[in-house]
Symmetry: C2
Subunit: 403 residues, 2 copies
């Protein structure tokens, strides 16, 4: 099939235009279904139309640009909604790169490429809402029941989809595969000086809420050897857990104690209880399960050694996602050509729409560096050359996949 | 001088009567200057009068019972105010024992004994308010500026002192020494099965507020080796501090991390900051100073090793108090007689009015066991035999000191 090249300047121009919707300092405020988001999606739809694509808006506000007559196209995209205080790239980069690749391929008579901006990836209503609804991970009836933190129902807000364009179902079998370019949102490429990350997996996530319960007591009159200090239990648990998990961790394994609540939390009172979260991520569901056993064993051993009670609740598990080997191979060949020593295979530690889409079709992802690893922050940025290089590498991989 | 014996039944009867003021379940609600407190102090004053003592109420509501003509008496007492939800013994025991000893000695023609109930030991306005004002540790002008948690000024509340009796200054030089019987409020005697603790010292207390500041980051995209996790800093600091302090601790040394605040305190975010309290107590001011150096060294080493920033503020120091050796010797002789193998020298891990009074005159304290070490709680209690034994032992020591 005819090869195509993207127009980097045109892509950057569109990316900067998208930034103007909800622009705030160096960043963007463009939550799902706010005025800025709807205006941005209307503009996106107009750019798709100008590129000769047919705009389809699905019932939850995902915006697709479909090449004429194509029912077996490659879908490229991401999301254009942002965090309450978001960076200008995040999902926006992948959306504009999808538009540019679809447009460039059509102009050159290349393979049929569709593009998409998913809705509410950033979780105004629920994480990855738009792609979960489109892929059927959540039914429309269930999505409609979601509410944002102010109690506004998704069912009400999604009526605004008709402001973007005519609303209709977009069958998932119109597409043969899905590709997403995204900023890394972490420091790995920026630290190593590499410019492209070829995603192999998206991590699975496990989380659990736990408590150690000891005995609340006077910090003056209770000797050290008679204390049952719940916070000291957490300290010992954390220390032992770090040591044990280091022994079984893979290169992409992470674990975090991010939430801690000490009771009664007063300087002169020995903590009688501590509630805390433990979260761990890895691309291997098997390792994640093994880690859970280690977490539980360590907590039980701590409770026994320190005469505490241990409770656990709210276990959650999001399975790992694996990218399609054929797509990964094409992305790697493209990366080698673009920057022979400047790329690496990488694991995505964050979730992406691609994880949902991968349940229905082969999926691949490419990362470009985040300067200082910063994301979900007005200061988020990526070198201009890396933005263009990422788009070119994705286009090259599509040319490889279709020739 | 003529020896005297206390009347245990009369003492218990008065102690039970005092409990009825503010009684609540098994405990008592009798905060300083509440109706229950004023009524209790009026009743106490009437019992002092009935015992032939002259009642003096000082400007902050401390109630003294003074034997006729005596300007060189031994003062015995404690406080009759309680925590918002207090136990029935706490300071009340020492107040009634003071009344009984003063009464019994007067009846028997023994040494002149005065008794006292200090006001607001429990800190409605400030810890040990009444004894701090009486001993001049705080000036009346400074005490008047204090306010409770509802903003009520001490200056207003202390006008209620006139409801107890005629208000006048009570010179501290009317008294040659001070003795206080108190429940231990800790588990040492209860655990060992001993019935009397002869207090050698009241601990000094040092406290400090500290923070570790790292880098708040995404718990998925930030590899373990690039994290600057402030909570993990606190875990390492606490572990290292425990190990180092165990190496220099004396038998009465305690240290506590009772307050911890993690920011932003979310399961999916690496903590960027943790604020926490460190408090340590010991009867040796020299050791307390050395411990502070260890706390600082450990925090600095942690910050350096984990690439964190460390800050410290709000250092507070209450010096240790040492009981008078002559009084301690008399209390020990009395304890040996009462329970040859059932007493021990002990350090008070909590503050008491006696610490303030000791700045002006020789001071001694005696402890009786707290069942299960419980205090500041409706469930606080002590075996009846131990209450009487404590009073008898204190009376015996006074007979030894005056003969």
């Amino acid at each position: 099939m005819t090869r195509f090249n993207i127009d980097g300047e045109r892509m950057l121009s569109d990316l900067r235009k998208l930034r103007t919707f909800g622009e705030c300092g160096k960043g963007v405020k463009r939550r799902a279904f706010t005025d800025a988001d709807i205006q941005a999606r209307r503009w996106l739809a107009s750019r798709m139309t100008e590129a000769g694509l047919t705009v389809h808006v699905d019932p939850v506000g995902n915006v697709f640009g479909i090449p004429e007559g194509a029912t077996n196209s490659i879908l490229v995209g991401s999301h254009s909604d942002t965090q309450p205080e978001g960076g200008w790239l995040d999902g926006a980069l992948g959306v504009i790169v999808g538009l540019e690749i679809a447009r460039a391929s059509r102009e050159a008579g290349g393979p049929p490429i569709a593009c998409v901006s998913f809705q509410d990836e950033e979780g105004r209503f629920s994480t990855l809402t738009g792609s979960r609804a489109w892929t059927g991970v959540l039914s429309l009836a269930d999505v409609d029941l979601l509410a944002d933190s102010d109690g506004v129902r998704f069912e009400e807000e999604r009526k605004k989809a008709s402001l973007i364009g005519t609303v209709s179902e977009v069958p998932t079998d119109w597409f043969r595969s899905f590709l997403e370019l995204h900023i890394e949102q972490g420091p790995i490429l920026d630290t190593s000086g590499e410019r492209i990350g070829v995603v192999r997996d998206i991590v699975g996530i496990r989380g659990e809420r736990m408590s150690f319960i000891g005995e609340q007591n006077h910090a003056g009159t209770t000797p050290m050897n008679l204390r049952r200090d719940a916070f000291q239990g957490l300290v010992r648990f954390t220390t032992d857990l770090n040591s044990k998990l280091r022994g079984i961790a893979g290169p992409a394994t992470v674990w975090t104690i991010g939430h801690v609540a000490v009771h009664p939390n007063a300087a002169s009172v020995i903590p009688g209880r501590v509630d805390f979260s433990v979260q761990w991520r890895d691309p291997s569901d098997e390792l994640l399960q093994r880690m859970r056993e280690v977490v539980h064993q360590t907590a039980l051993a701590t409770a026994e050694a320190m005469r505490l009670e241990w409770t656990t609740s709210d276990y959650s598990a999001i399975p790992a996602t694996h990218c399609d080997p054929t797509i990964v191979a094409a992305l790697e060949r493209a990366a080698v050509t673009a920057v022979p020593n400047g790329w690496r295979p990488i694991t995505s530690g964050a979730l992406h729409d691609a994880a949902n889409v991968s349940k229905l079709m082969p999926m691949g992802m490419l990362f470009v560096p985040s300067i200082n690893g910063i994301s979900h922050n007005f200061d988020e940025d990526t070198a201009v050359d890396d933005l263009v290089l990422g788009a070119e590498t994705l286009a090259r991989a599509i040319n490889l996949l279709t020739n």
